[in-house]
Amino acid sequence: MSEKNLLPSGLPRIESLEMRGIVKRFPGVLANDHVDFDVKAGEIHALLGENGAGKSTLMKILYGLYAPEEGEIYLNGEKININSPTDSINHGIGMIHQHFMLVDTLNVAQNVALGLKSTREPRLDLDIVSERITELSEAYGLHVDPQANVGRLAVGERQRVEIIKALYRGAALLVLDEPTAVLTPQEVDDVFVIFRQMARDGHGLIFISHKLDEITALTDRVTVLRDGKAIGTRPTSEVTKKDLANMMVGREVLLERNRPPAETGEVRLKLDNVSAFNDREQQILKNVSLEVRSGEIVGVAGVSGNGQRPLAEAIAGLQPTSEGSIFLEQRDVTGLATIEMLRAGLSYIPEERMHDGVIKDFSVAWNFILQDHVRAPYSRGIFLNFKYIDQHSQELIKSFNVKTPSRETPVKNLSGGNIQKLILARELDRRPRVLIAAQPTRGVDIGATEYIHNQLLLQRAEGLATLLISEDLDEVMALSDRIVVMFGGEIMGIVENKGISAEDLGLMMAGERLDNA
């Protein structure tokens, strides 16, 4: 075998992998409908589609987590059977999951060794594993310390551990499931360098994403899935972002948001030096001060877990504060219970929509009245006014375009985008003075995202003060008048959203203060 057919890990390449005519049914859904997909050595092939389009199902079939009803998989032209993750690993297929599959309480070497045969069973051979990790780490430029405790690693480092884990198991072909979802822009750039190098070295990479910028920046070919069908496969250089968006949604979509200059009024929400601790006595908010005015959207950017959630919950009265004051329309509301905050004119779209935003087993109509069922006209005395509730929920379903079989349908049967529209309808229908919108479009398809963004901008024009908390930097930059960047529970800087670049914001998201950035 010639040198050039070997990967830096010393293993043979997978010249081609083909999935032909894959069909997978779930009760009531055709998740994959005769999908053809292939990837070659040295290529980064994007798999693009909205949530529920069938990307994950297709990849779970490739990784042996689901069994397809029809279809075949060919490796280097030969038909193979994959019945479990072990089979797929043995064929040289590795998967980097969107939610890292790491055990926080173990170190890197232990995470890599997990599930592998040791050279001296039953004892572990962590010294040998560590040596090999160091070799791979050098061959691929990954900079991973085998002794490091995984729980203490930054997100970017954890991802490199995942890559090492796959390489250690002999992966020649890597499936990357939305690998950039939790990274800062700089970390994205770094990991793209690694991905490109891996492709040049002869690995095949499948890149799953719904971020059009990343697909055009990184990949060689792109396959679009919609409603379980492969819509088409194109060389990335021959399509525009707009083409891809239209293929993905099946109609014309607007990627740009029309945000006229803000007409700001009085200060509606003010945080003055707010600090908070969690139940393990760790400080999760450090001296946070900010203002939101009538008619403006203030965006909060930051990598997941840097205090955004405590911030939203502190304002909503769900997270006790240790210091500082919160004002809602000049009134000191520090320490008020959530119900008082809601009465004072706050609306809150929580980031965990299924967990904190709705009661899954309740109907659409019942979820509309979760806060206000005790008030007229929803109730009189202790009796609910069913007639009004039914009539009003019908109106909301219609005016906010919530796609549901009926108002009696349990919310758990709706798609993510429609649940979010339901929550938005409920929160805006209350005519709030201040809106906290946390991750309003996370996991929501392009069509619904477009709708939700337009609603937020419409409310802005009518004078609503909105605090938009999002890990999606593009979203923050598209909608906000001012941008607050958080890191480690602190505000790194507050900037006007004019002429600021994603790179500058990225530096602040990684912990650089505005004055240094």
């Binding site: 987590l65 690993i89 999951h97 790491l102 926080d104 173990l106």
Partner: protein, 321 residues
């Protein structure tokens, strides 16, 4: 002078009993620790102990064979453990409820069998104490470690069952820290999705640990009936199984912590027994309460919760989360 000697004798007596009485706590909580490290809270320990206690005793009563009694107790414990695994791992039932069910099941069955077979409280001889005597050319020299002053009484005069219990502590620590199986147990209890994605069978690991926990709990029960007391009574474990579950929390899910907890609780039990023997002017109800009170206090301490396996009590289903 005389008073001092009496006091010394009492202290020695308490320490001796403490080490002895730790036996059932040790077996039961070490077994439970393995189950919990893999993510299964088995509240059925009490019932498994009672079953092991009865079957071990009955076997010895009929055959006079101590080791056979212990083996039968372990086998019955394994079957009870498999039942718990079936309900909590395969059927994914709520672990707390199924464990309480298993405890009540063990209590009922052991009482019923006791009434059908023995009927009254009977006694067996129990395991003899090891004396650690030096022997040369097969002839007992008569020099025994158990004759050493102070330590001889406290440390070198227990049965082999008790010593085996203590020997299991470093073995358990070694398994968890140094073996591939230990790594799988820890990973499955902490992040079963991660283990599954690497081809580790979450169910297989949990079946193994829960069954092992069952074997240990069965032996723990038998150690009580055929080694420590030499009798069987209905409900003779009297909550030791539940304390063993609490000891796992108390010990921070580590074998050495479990050892420390077992010794603490057995010593408190010993103090309580000696208090009764010596007729101290404390109502016996109060002293009987002591171990349970200590359990509640130990569980209320928040410091150890950080070590709790993240997936404890959570059944695993592939593809969720």
């Amino acid at each position: 002078m005389n008073e001092n000697l009496t006091l010394l004798a009492i202290v020695l007596g308490i320490l001796h009993s403490g080490i002895r009485l730790a036996t059932p706590y040790l077996y039961a909580s070490l077994g439970e620790m393995f189950a919990q490290r893999s993510g299964v809270l088995n509240l059925g320990v009490e019932g498994i102990m009672l079953m092991g206690s009865f079957f071990g005793f009955y076997t010895v009563f009929e055959t006079q064979n101590m080791w056979l009694g212990l083996a039968v107790a372990g086998l019955v414990g394994a079957l009870m453990g498999l039942l718990m695994a079936l309900v909590s791992v395969t059927f994914k039932a709520e672990q707390g409820i199924s464990g309480i069910g298993l405890s009540l099941f063990g209590l009922g069955v052991s009482s019923l069998l006791f009434k059908m077979t023995l009927g009254t409280v009977e006694g067996v001889d129990g395991f003899s104490e090891l004396k650690f005597c030096l022997s040369s050319v097969g002839v007992n020299s008569g020099v025994c470690l158990s004759d050493l002053p102070v330590v001889g009484d406290i440390v070198f005069s227990h049965s082999l069952v008790t010593y085996l219990g203590y020997a299991l502590v470093p073995v358990a620590a070694w398994i968890l820290a140094r073996t591939t199986w230990g790594l799988k147990i820890k990973a499955v209890g902490q992040n079963p999705e991660a283990a599954d994605s690497l081809g580790v069978s979450v169910s297989a690991v949990r079946y193994a640990t829960v069954t092992l926990g069952g074997i240990f709990a069965g032996i723990a029960g038998a150690s009580l009936s055929i080694s420590l007391l030499g009798i069987f009574q209905e409900n003779m474990t009297n909550g030791i199984g539940f304390i063993a579950v609490a000891l796992v929390y108390f010990g921070g899910w580590s074998p050495w912590g479990v050892l420390a907890g077992s010794l603490l609780f057995s010593t408190v039990s010993a103090i309580q027994l000696w208090g009764q023997v010596l007729n101290l002017p404390i109502p016996s109800d109060v002293s009987v309460m002591l171990p349970y009170l200590l359990t509640i206090i130990a569980l209320a301490l928040p410091i150890r919760r950080a070590a709790q396996p993240a997936a404890l009590t959570k059944p695993f289903t592939r593809g969720e989360g």
